[in-house]
Symmetry: C2
Amino acid sequence: MAGKEKGLEELFVETLKDIYYAEKQILRSLPKMAKAASTEELRNAFQKHRDETEMQIERLEQVFETMGKAARGKSCQAIIGIVEESQEVMEEFKGSPALDAGILASAQAVEHYEISRYGTLVSWANQLGMKDAAKLLGQTLDEEKKTDVLLTKLAEQAVNRKAA
Amino acid sequence: MAGKEKGLEELFVETLKDIYYAEKQILRSLPKMAKAASTEELRNAFQKHRDETEMQIERLEQVFETMGKAARGKSCQAIIGIVEESQEVMEEFKGSPALDAGILASAQAVEHYEISRYGTLVSWANQLGMKDAAKLLGQTLDEEKKTDVLLTKLAEQAVNRKAA
């Protein structure tokens, strides 16, 4: 299909595949971040978000289903890069008092990528009149925003102070 | 320097180098996005943000200066991935009514990466007692948030409607 025949629905599906792939990468990376974290609070936050991520993947599968499409991911260079950076921080700052601050910052970069993607997808789903999809994606968007707020709180309350 | 001797200041400098590199990539990519955009409004928004980005790079150089360090970037896989994805969209949706929606979504992914990084840097600068740096980085953080709000507005008002 040439570019000019492609419309918003195709763009929506491409972006859905992008975030589906991204969520699966995040699901794999969260236990590593939890294991690396040195405080229990941060470990718990990552474990909780891992469970949420499983549910978010299921929601994406439901969105594919409402469109009569098989759930399929599409390699997402952005999340690959963000996850790579988080691995670098975990290696470079292993044993450092700043380790948790670094892991937390990486996790917030992940959250913001997701917030931007889900924000876009909700807006497009509404535009396309896909009410069920918009609702499912909106639930995840809210969760991602809440996770980001929680991480900011953890960072300011404890992690940064410990690292300084 | 082994991980355990590295503290928050080192993490701050590493992240500063990361966003300095990222801003330079963004500076190069914005004119391409402006050129690809099919509406004047979006083109103008990208051109305006290109000018802001130049100023944001200068601010980062000032932050390096306050620390007595030479401004230096450090390859940032996250922004490389995000920019790659925006190029893919521009190629795949060239000539499509959904092109602008796609470019806009990519630009918002860039903004959110920056918002997460500057948010982290402001928090760390405050923690480290670097008031001038916190102020400079906070100015940029505000600009990035405003740009994101503007892009959402453009998307909802015109671009998505045109694409559907």
